[in-house]
């Protein structure tokens, strides 16, 4: 009884079918890997640069590297070195001409204190681009403690001023409303004082010029005076600026004093008018000292308002 095995019909050309299946699977796998590699930027030519940092806290492999807010690369690796931690950055080579020597890598967050951590490249002065393997300077991010310390440093002088003003008010027994009113009037008079001072300086310049024509022999002396006058102008300018800033601080201090005195001294029942004044200066103070960084950002983002733009395009008939 010899029964030969006859494979079922559905197994005909089985090897061919299995091979075709494996080939298609292989092709699909390769295509998938290729797609992933393309997405990861493996086909884009990258240039490696690096920086050294004392510690790698907050830095991770794969962290994006940004230039003007655009992602131009990533952190490709980190390793311990003698100086600290050597962090390697892979930058797309197309962007390298925009990163000249002298550029700075900053560890920062996308939305100020919060937001995703990134390495931000701050380009240096125009010049030759960084080359493969070159080192770039690094500025670590500021910690919360440093922010708080910064605020404290800026706030302490203002509080000291507040203390002094409170002491003076208590000592003199003056009505704070009257004092603040006088202070305000003085501040309003400051621009006029500033202008008068400048007029005085320009008159002085003219006088010097006349003396120059009359006394040729005094030319050397005149040169030194002419040199001295701009210096004097600068000094006077800075002195006026100091007065201005002192006045601003006094306004801020006055605002703080108003809040405190309203609670502490019922004597100041007439403080409503003062409170209105203080409210204005308090708004200014809020923007000045505790959050000066934010304030700078606000002013920096404003484009200049230039009266030159008012000229009409069409010629006037």
């Amino acid at each position: 009884m010899t029964a030969t095995f006859v494979p079922p019909k559905r197994f005909a050309r089985l090897v061919l079918k299995v091979n075709a299946f494996l080939l298609i699977a292989l092709l699909l796998g390769a295509a998938f890997i290729g797609l992933v590699a393309y997405k990861q930027g493996w086909f884009v030519h990258q240039t490696q640069i690096h920086f050294i940092t004392a510690n790698a806290l907050g830095l991770n492999k794969g962290m994006p590297v940004k230039l003007y807010g655009f992602t131009v690369g990533s952190v490709s690796g980190m390793e311990l070195s003698e100086e600290g931690v050597d962090v390697r950055l892979s930058i797309m080579s197309d962007y390298m001409p925009r990163i000249p020597k002298g550029s700075l890598a900053k560890h920062s967050r996308e939305a100020g204190v919060v937001g995703a951590a990134v390495i931000d490249i701050v380009p240096g002065k125009p010049g030759p681009a960084l080359a493969q393997g070159e080192r770039i300077d690094f500025q670590p991010s500021r910690s919360i403690a440093e922010y708080i310390d910064d605020i404290r440093r800026q706030a302490v002088p203002a509080f000291n001023e507040l203390k002094n003003v409170l002491g003076q008010f208590k000592g003199s027994g003056e009505d704070i409303a009257v004092s603040l009113h006088s202070l305000r009037k003085e501040m309003e008079a400051l621009p006029q004082t500033h202008r008068d001072l400048r007029n005085l300086l320009s008159t002085a310049e003219r006088t010097v010029a006349e003396a120059n024509t009359a006394l040729k022999s005094a030319e050397r002396a005149m040169a030194s005076i002419e040199q001295a006058v701009p210096e004097l102008t600068t000094k006077a300018g800075s002195a006026i600026e100091s007065i201005d800033s002192a006045a601003q601080q006094l306004r801020a201090t006055g605002a703080e004093a108003q809040g405190t005195i309203q609670k502490a001294q019922p004597v100041l029942e007439r403080g409503d008018a003062v409170a209105r004044d203080a409210g204005e200066v308090f708004n200014a103070a809020k923007r000045v000292w505790p959050l000066s960084d934010s304030f700078n950002e606000i002013t920096d983002r404003d484009l200049p308002i230039d009266s030159f733009d008012s000229r009409s395009k069409a010629p006037k008939r």
């Binding site: 003007y68 807010g69 655009f70 996308e110 939305a111 100020g112 919060v114 937001g115 309003e188 621009p191 500033h194 202008r195 400048r198 300018g237 606000i298 983002r301 404003d302 484009l303 200049p304 308002i305 230039d306 009266s307 030159f308 733009d309 008012s310 000229r311 009409s312 395009k313 069409a314 010629p315 006037k316």
Partner: protein, 284 residues
């Protein structure tokens, strides 16, 4: 028991209803702030790259996002920036419309500074659109917010008012206002507005048939604008100097300034500006 299949069907239907995915959460505060910061950053970047169209679009987007998070200061700042960029693009009407976000919304708590900026910008745009009456109204409003002309925009307001006076054939008033503007600008070390004021002073003096006295302030304006490296202003200074020199009878100087102005205009590839300048110089 006959009702059993019906009950089962209802239960299944109810189950289907229950599996509906929850609605997508609305944007979080952080997302909105990030998008807002991104739009502002992109606008600034595009501006640096010279893409004015893109920058104007991004400023508009930043203002829109700022409105969604009720950040009035940012709404105003971005609307004003958008207006400035539109004007650089020569789209004066769009520049005027961009300011409506601030000027036509009395309920939103914009600060006095922002309202002043918007009114001043509106005066500038109206002047560019050859509407001095409306410009005067908005310049006056801005001046009222700038107590005693002691604010940072005093010189700009005075320069705009001087321009309005000149356009209204009040050259003597224009000279007086320009002199005050120069004084204010110098006291704040604002070189751009100092140069604008000196240029205006020269124009006003020429308009009063005192061309010889117009040369000196115009030369001072040119010196400042060359330091600031602003080609549009250098071109305006040279054109004015050519006109003033010609009116003062100094033909050689007038020709020299004219040729310099043509060179600057060609280098700027400002064909429209060149045509305007030539038309202006040909006028008696």
């Amino acid at each position: 028991m006959r009702a059993l299949p019906l009950v089962a069907l209802l239960a299944i239907a109810a189950g289907c209803g229950g599996t509906k995915p929850p609605a997508a959460p609305s944007q979080t505060s952080l997302q909105s702030q990030t998008r807002h910061a991104d739009a502002e950053q992109r606008a600034a970047m595009l501006l640096r790259a010279g893409d004015l169209e893109g920058a104007a679009r991004q400023y508009g987007e930043a203002a829109r996002i700022a409105a969604t998070i009720e950040n009035s200061d940012s709404v105003a700042a971005n609307a004003i920036n958008q207006s400035i960029v539109y004007q650089w693009l020569g789209r004066d009407a769009d520049a005027r419309d961009a300011l409506a976000r601030v000027l036509d919304d009395p309920r939103r708590p914009f600060s006095e500074r922002r309202r002043l900026q918007a009114e001043l910008r509106r005066a500038i745009v109206d002047l560019a659109l050859q509407n001095p009456v409306s410009a005067a109204t908005f310049a006056e409003r801005a001046a009222q917010r700038c107590a005693n002309f002691s604010c940072e925009y005093a010189a700009t307001i005075l320069n705009v008012q001087a321009q309005i006076a000149l356009e209204s054939s009040r050259a003597a008033d224009a000279e007086q206002l320009a002199t005050r503007a120069a004084e204010r600008a110098r006291s704040r070390n604002d070189r751009a507005e100092t140069a604008n004021a000196l240029r205006m002073l020269g124009k006003a003096r020429r308009a009063q048939n005192n061309a010889a006295a117009a040369i000196q302030p115009l030369e001072q304006a040119l010196a400042i604008d060359r330091e600031l490296a602003d080609p549009r202003k250098i071109l305006a200074d040279l054109t004015e100097l050519s006109l003033a020199s010609s009116a003062a009878g100094n033909r050689d100087a007038a020709k020299d300034y004219y040729e310099r102005a043509v060179t600057v205009s060609r280098a700027l590839r400002d064909t429209r500006g060149l045509a305007e300048m030539e038309a202006q110089l040909r006028r008696p």
